[in-house]
Subunit: 210 residues, 2 copies
Amino acid sequence: MGIPEKVINRLTLYHFILEDLRENEKYISSTVIANLLKIDNSQVRKDLKYIENVSNNDIGGKCRVGYEVKALKKAIEQSLGFKKTKDVFIVGAGNLGSALAKYDSFKDYGLNVLAMFDKDKTKIGTVINGREVFDISRVGNLASRLGVEMAILTVPREFAQGTANYLAGAGLKYIWNFTTCILDVPKDVKVWNENLIGSFLQFTNSDKEE
Amino acid sequence: MGIPEKVINRLTLYHFILEDLRENEKYISSTVIANLLKIDNSQVRKDLKYIENVSNNDIGGKCRVGYEVKALKKAIEQSLGFKKTKDVFIVGAGNLGSALAKYDSFKDYGLNVLAMFDKDKTKIGTVINGREVFDISRVGNLASRLGVEMAILTVPREFAQGTANYLAGAGLKYIWNFTTCILDVPKDVKVWNENLIGSFLQFTNSDKEE
């Protein structure tokens, strides 16, 4: 029984808000959260009720007092499994791969980039934000030695399928795909398409809803 | 009456698949699409029926023949408005901003990056993939002269709110927010949170559903 994707998305955004509060702010109302995100107050209350049940934490939420910030953060973290660190590789040390390697927020949410891979000899051996770039041929060996199952795929589109085949063959089980190529992979490999184009079109189409 | 976000997301992925077909592939079945994306065939058929109605195009889909690739592409493009080009600015010429400026797929889907902005004197005047980096103080003037309403926000988290205030004051109406800061903006400014953390947590939590 998983948490619906939309709810996960919103809970993450709520957590961003809580992270930005000052130390002395002990309570937050659903209205404050709702207004910042420009969504319905009832939606926020529903999500928080849900997370209270899933995490089995009392997060407050009493009338005129609001939710307890600390308890609420903990409830979100437990429900979404922030603290179970997941080690990943970045495959493709180009612009986007390098930008993601430098995206320090990942670590706060349990995503730990261990190393990067490329086939470009000029990149191999360089270090990007503390992560060494290895020859792609070493990915299988390092994955099994380090117990890494997930790769972030940031190669150019034309190399995406070939690289995915290689990663699947090397034993990787999860591919977070940042390319616009839809990958054809074996059944036991899971792909998550990070669809920036779709996101942009959702944004531009959301206007029409009003 | 807008197209639901989830449907927009899937339609974009279908379009990626169609883009990758060879010239001589004139038909595609919903099964091929469903298998590549590891989703239900019935879901694909439902989405395509929906898009056929919205776009008022006959896309085929007859038994054992499949959908006409050309007509299907056109139907998706019309429904999602790919061809209405939207000019945007990238605000924050760091790693992620530069990577997005180099992300050439954007243009194919109607997103045209006109220029970049930063406050770092060493970046101002440089050119990233054909886009000049201007001083952030010029964003309002250039936006009104060029008729740009949307900014992609890729500044460091700690500068996100201040920059958003500045952009709102400068007349920008849409902020595609790549930071983990939830922006507090006036009512007439729309924010779309590109939530990579949420995406990652959706991916890692999706396992639990089985």
